[in-house]
Amino acid sequence: MISAGVGGRQLGGDLAGAAVVVVVIPRRRSRSIQSTAAGEALRCGGGGIKNAWSLQGTRPAILASRSFSSAAKEMTVRDALNSAIDEEMSADPKVFLMGEEVGEYQGAYKITKGLLEKYGPDRVLDTPITEAGFTGIGVGAAYHGLKPIIEFMTFNFSMQAIDHIINSAAKSNYMSAGQISVPIVFRGPNGAAAGVGAQHSQCYASWFASCPGLKVLAPYSSEDARGLMKAAIRDPDPVVFLENELLYGESFPVSAEVLDSSFSLPIGKAKIEREGKDVTITAFSKMVGYALKAAEILSKEGISAEVINLRSIRPLDRATINNSVRKTNRLVTVEEGFPQHGIGAEICASVVEDSFEYLDAAIERIAGADVPMPYAANLERLAVPQVEDIVRAAKRTCYRSSSLAATA
């Protein structure tokens, strides 16, 4: 398998300021279906790509989106994150990375691969094992005007640093009356992976999303990853960026607009991944994929589901959610985390407050089991939502299930 990854990165460096395109080959077989001949040609001909792109000129964003509207290119979430961080570090010398294993090891999940080599140890810092330490140091550096990206190996470990995230990063701008701003990004994998047990599997979305002063983002696709990461790094407020380990290797089609270095997504806007008219399904991160599969199954049974990819947990795009529910009159919220005080609870409250009369059925919440994550594979499967759970819930809201028990 030819790796155009290195060539792609050099490409980015050469054309800094012009179109920055990173064409990469997925590291392992991707799950997406597209594999056209054109796609193959693009993957193997790194040199050919360079020439084609260099013809675009210096302001490629508009031209590119017109000429290349079909998404023939694919990119893994891992590469999407890597390229986004790379481009932002290249554009702004104040951006720097800090975390365990981010440098020499190329990142515990290889998200920061190649960055130490490119930017040097001043901007990519391998830290001692102290989340409280490096988070506090990142916050202090942000106070002083740098723009740190702090990586937690998983957000489970952010618990050792949560005082700095909540009491320092989130509240300082307010407590100092605007004198101290904290342009910091906290990122890392969140939620369940596979077979890693209770202390490595919790979803912390609702922990952070309840705190004013923080912004909380949860990308699903590569487009989400690129756009939201860039927005997060550029944002003057502290951002908690919740990735997902199992999504890192997944490939998604990306348009030319997404690949442009000036691309970013607005924070606080959800995306309607699939339009429908019978029931609204909200989800974020990995569960978006499950919701889409559920929607596919439901469509075969005559139920048209609208799938909303939240993208932004705080601020929550209440307008999009409510407008959708006013259209479909039914709602199923899906999340991986624990049910009590979860994201679904907040969405449910929002819809009940703003669109009560539009509901034709009680809102269904799908969440992880209310137990610390067990390790055994069969138990783990039962502890996280599965596609069938979403399908059954959607049917219940449509009064299609034969009994209250989830046996359909």
Binding site: D122, L125, T127, P128, T130, A132, G133, F134, T135, G136, I137, G138, V139, G140, A141, A142, Y143, H144, G145, L146, P148, D163, H164, N167, S168, S172, N173, Y174, M175, S176, A177, G178, Q179, I180, S181, P212, G213, K215, D235, P236, D237, G268, P315
Partner: protein, 464 residues
Amino acid sequence: MASLLRNSGKITTTAGLIARPGFQGGRGFGLSSFSLFFSSPRRFQTTESESRVDSHCYDDEISQKFSVLGGKVPYTSGMRFTSELPEEKVPCYRVLDNNGQLIDSRNFAGISKEIAMKMYTDMVKLNTMDTIFYEAQRQGRISFYVTTTGEEAINIASAAALKIDDFIVPQYREPGILLWRGFTPQDFANQCFSNKFDDGKGRQMPVHYGSKKLNYFTVASTIASQLPHAVGAAYSLKMDGKDACVVGYFGDGGSSEGDFHAALNFAAVLEAPVIFLCRNNGWAISTPASDQFRSDGVVVKGQAYGVRSIRVDGNDALAMYSAVRSAREMAITEQKPILIEAVTYRVGHHTTSDDSTRYRPLEEIEWWQMARNPLTLYRKWLESNGWWNDEAEAELRSNSRKELLKAIQVAEKIEKPPVGDMFTDVYDAVPSNLFEQEKLLQQTVTRYPQDYPSDVPVRAVPSS
């Protein structure tokens, strides 16, 4: 048996055993089980090692190259535990004797008259401010206050030794540095009364001062969380290559927090130009230092992390000035952290919510008020130079008092911050939900004014 074992020197047990407590430098250990079970004399270090203590062996070159420890590590065949406490406590650097005279003029670098005078006048102003604001709290005019009584020298002398570009990351007992840098009595009063001229927009409790202009980070109530922040800010200075350092202040209590250890460790690894200044004032609310740690104070922890450190008499203004000056020099030119333990005493209560006579003897407080009082001591030195006298003292005290009382009177009457200020600065730009909430609140207050305090102005928040 237990009490016998605590004494160093030979003891005899009931089994006729001779135990030799005290390894080299050690001071007692718990060995009750040993002496009961063995009937033959036992030693706790080999006799040969005593004579061979100078002849260290080292690994060969290749082992050194791959060594985890780095560099040459001496090996010894004599098993030796490093004692938990050093033979002698780390000496405390002091410049002035009890009569305000230089102990050894060779070891004091000197100070200009201008700075020396400003140091004293600011110490007096700080002391006066504490007295008056404490009284104001007792009268119910402000809700809360934290005095710095007894620690004026640490505050003012350290500020005098630094430059305006040096970032200050305080705990909460360092208002003197703001005073030195130009915060006026009115500025202090405005924050304590949280009126509309407070730089902090009335967001925080009294004494949570902050000033971007004066390079003084806003006080946060969390203990020791500012220490890693100080290291991060120092890293930023390092990347900018600035001729400046960061000074992070904390107390003896703060040195127990995890953040302290992470900060020192990390600062050494990062080679950050930061001074960690510990005000060891003996008390963390009601917890005495003997319950806080069992080491020889905080200074010894520096070496544990590879950080150069010094212990200074915190009540000696000249010693503080001298030590901080040198520390700043080292931190910037060598780009490394320095730890200063300033030994002092918290003469006042922890805060106005505390009555320290409940947990410590009045005699102890009074003794520290008298002996090595930072103001009295330093004043003696000034007078011996002919730079101060009783008239000047009376005038200074009287003027400071008047100025502070006026500041309080003025601050009390100023309007509180408008309701709109509650919703700004949560984020860089006001989000739509807060904008809506503020509008709703405005409408409600306007419609039902009798239900809301009359002295809180309603003013619209600009939408972003």
